[in-house]
């Protein structure tokens, strides 16, 4: 287990480096004068020159990259070209909103998706199964942003039950988190069903039955526990989908999170901010996947005790 943990932690390093390279290339690939681009359209000539020196833009590429990496490690992401505030400050202000929404969404998705998948697997080809599988199919085919809009039409415009956007108390969370959760929930339900069905087909389930165990015990203690292990990994991947979805959902619901920030920044060509937000998303995703991988190793005795 220790060996696995160390290996996993070490494997992050190339990925982080890769991200930094990607971001660096991004800057280099932009047309025009990078210093001007970073400073933004509203900056003064002094600001532009300051940035030019700060980033060493007149120096060779590897020096620039070195400086860039150095700044990254010190969490200096520059200033927003739009608001002139530090990028880290803007992100930090909005990060909790995105994280709380994502957590709510994943929670809902697991709460509804996993049991649905289990029931579906245990009673295959019944009307219940068809309901779950069709629902899940619809869920993964539906564009997240369209669902959000339709929910707004229904619950805010027609029924006036819930607010159409903005943040605040729990009623503001309901529609966005449901929207965000929809795709993930459907995916998790499908994965759970597949994993459960495969687990139920395993030989050791027959052995468990041959011992005279009650069917419920066989399903939960034997089949389910085995089926959940691969699902844990899937949930980590799903978080990635959530991050992607959050960009769209936050736009639909005017949610003040990082997702909306990245969209606004792209429209405004605020490149320092774009860099910063992409970095944050990347970091979050890596962190979640790392946690999930370690959790997986902990739960599966085949890895834990070797």
């Amino acid at each position: 287990m220790l060996q696995y943990t160390v290996k996993r932690l070490l494997s992050i390093i190339p990925v982080l480096l890769g991200i930094s390279v990607l971001l660096f290339i991004m800057l280099q690939a932009l047309p025009g004068d990078p210093a001007q681009v970073l400073a933004g359209e509203m900056a003064s000539q002094e600001d532009v020159e300051r940035i030019r020196v700060q980033l060493g833009l007149d120096q060779p590429v590897y020096v620039q990259y070195g400086k860039f990496l150095w700044r990254l490690i010190h969490l200096d992401l520059g200033r927003s070209a739009r608001t002139q505030n530090p990028v880290t400050q803007e992100i930090w202000a909005r990060l909790p909103n995105t994280v709380s929404l994502s957590l709510a969404a994943i929670f809902i998705a697991c709460l509804l998706g996993i049991p649905a998948g289990i029931i579906s697997a245990v009673r295959p080809y019944t009307w219940l199964d068809y309901l779950v599988t069709s629902g899940a199919l619809f869920g993964i085919s539906m564009p997240v942003f369209w669902l959000g809009l339709m929910l707004v039409v229904l619950f805010a415009v027609i029924l006036h039950w819930l607010p159409a956007g903005g943040t605040g108390g729990i009623e503001f969370y309901i529609l966005p988190s449901l929207t965000l959760a929809s795709f993930v929930m459907a995916f998790i339900a499908r994965m759970t069903r597949a994993s459960m069905m495969e687990s139920l087909n395993q030989d050791f389930v027959t052995t468990a039955r041959s011992k005279g165990l009650k069917e419920k015990v066989v399903i939960i203690r034997h089949a389910l526990k085995n089926a959940l292990i691969p699902i844990i990994t899937v949930i980590g991947l799903q978080f990635g989908m959530l991050l992607g979805g959050s960009v769209l959902t936050e736009t639909v619901f005017a949610w003040p999170g990082i997702g909306r920030l990245i969209v606004d920044s792209i429209h405004a060509r605020d490149y320092p901010m774009i860099q910063g937000t992409i970095l944050i998303f990347g970091l979050l995703y890596i962190l979640v996947n790392l946690t999930v991988d370690l959790l997986y190793a902990f739960v599966d005795p085949r890895i834990r005790y070797d």
């Binding site: 085919s141 942003f145 039409v153 992607g244 960009v247």
Partner: protein
């Protein structure tokens, strides 16, 4: 001689039927998959016939008729510039299918060979390729496409390229995993023992056995491409107006949600049905080409 304990149906031995004939028969039996295939066929037909259907110019504004409800004249109503939504959706199908094909082609053309090489040769090449794929996969697909669009710009071609680049690592991983498994098979060892050269082994032995997940992924990938493209369009950073892309239509229709909801509703249904079709077909292909013992 081993006997597998029969838990459900013992599979009868059949000889004479071709492998692909049996697979096709299984697919035909799957009503859902056929339904999905029918939807896609419908879209394909509509897309090809679009210029001949005389539904009105999807790009020309006609402000007098802006935001009209669905009527006999305009079956799906008009948008904020007075254009027929039906016409725009039909022309949008050309764009969406084009994007889907472009993205998947990119993934196949780059991803499959790289995956084959990575999986078959292993060693240093595999290590390097895997680390590179790790880096790309460090970002969730949609975000990667988003980031790429931020760099290379908006528009139809750039949309295809950005989403295509996110699709490539998926194919690489898929093909690599299968290649690794196939490489260990005895018939590959036999081929090598007889002196078959590598490219021939790759082409004639490894690739055909890797086809199944590739086919399934292609169908599912096309659906995913349409969803991603619509997402980018919705945010205004995908296909640009006046081109009629479904997601972009949704994006601009958003402002009129309260007084003219039909502008946003119909393009969404179009996206939904297209993706549903690809997903149904993909699932059906998976079941038909690689059946597991069903309970």
């Amino acid at each position: 001689m081993t006997e597998a304990p029969a838990q459900a149906c013992p599979a009868p031995v059949r000889s004479g039927d071709g492998l692909w004939k049996r697979r096709w028969a299984r697919l035909r039996r799957n009503k859902a998959a056929l339904f999905g295939g029918a939807i896609i066929l419908l879209y394909l037909v509509i897309a090809l016939l679009a210029p001949f259907l005389h539904l009105g110019d999807p790009a020309k504004p006609n402000l007098i008729k802006a935001l009209e409800r669905p009527s006999v004249e305009y079956l799906l109503g008009t948008d904020e510039l007075g254009r027929s939504i039906l016409s725009r959706i039909v022309h949008g199908s050309r764009i969406s299918l084009l994007i889907a094909l472009g993205v998947v082609s990119l993934g196949l053309v780059v991803g499959v060979p790289v995956g084959l090489i990575s999986g078959y040769y292993g060693g240093k090449i595999d290590f390097v390729i895997q680390r590179l794929t790790d880096m790309v996969l460090a970002f969730p697909g949609f975000l990667l496409a988003l980031a790429l669009v931020a760099i290379i710009g908006v528009g139809l071609e750039n949309t295809v390229i950005s989403i295509g680049i996110s699709m490539i690592p998926i194919y690489i991983r898929l093909v690599r995993a299968q290649s690794l498994a196939v490489r260990e098979q005895v018939y590959v060892e036999a081929a090598r023992a007889v002196g078959t050269r590598d490219p021939k082994i790759l082409l004639r032995h490894i690739l055909p056995n890797v086809m199944v997940p590739i086919i399934v992924q292609t169908s599912l990938g096309m659906g995913m491409a349409i969803l991603f493209a619509a997402g980018l369009g919705f945010l205004g950073i995908g296909v640009q107006p006046p081109q009629a892309e479904w997601g972009a239509m949704l994006g601009s229709g958003r402002s009129y949600l309260f007084n003219a909801p039909h502008v946003a509703t119909f393009p969404g249904i179009a996206i939904f049905l297209a993706v549903l079709g690809f997903n149904l077909l993909g699932d059906g292909l998976r079941d038909a080409l690689d059946p597991r013992v069903k309970v």
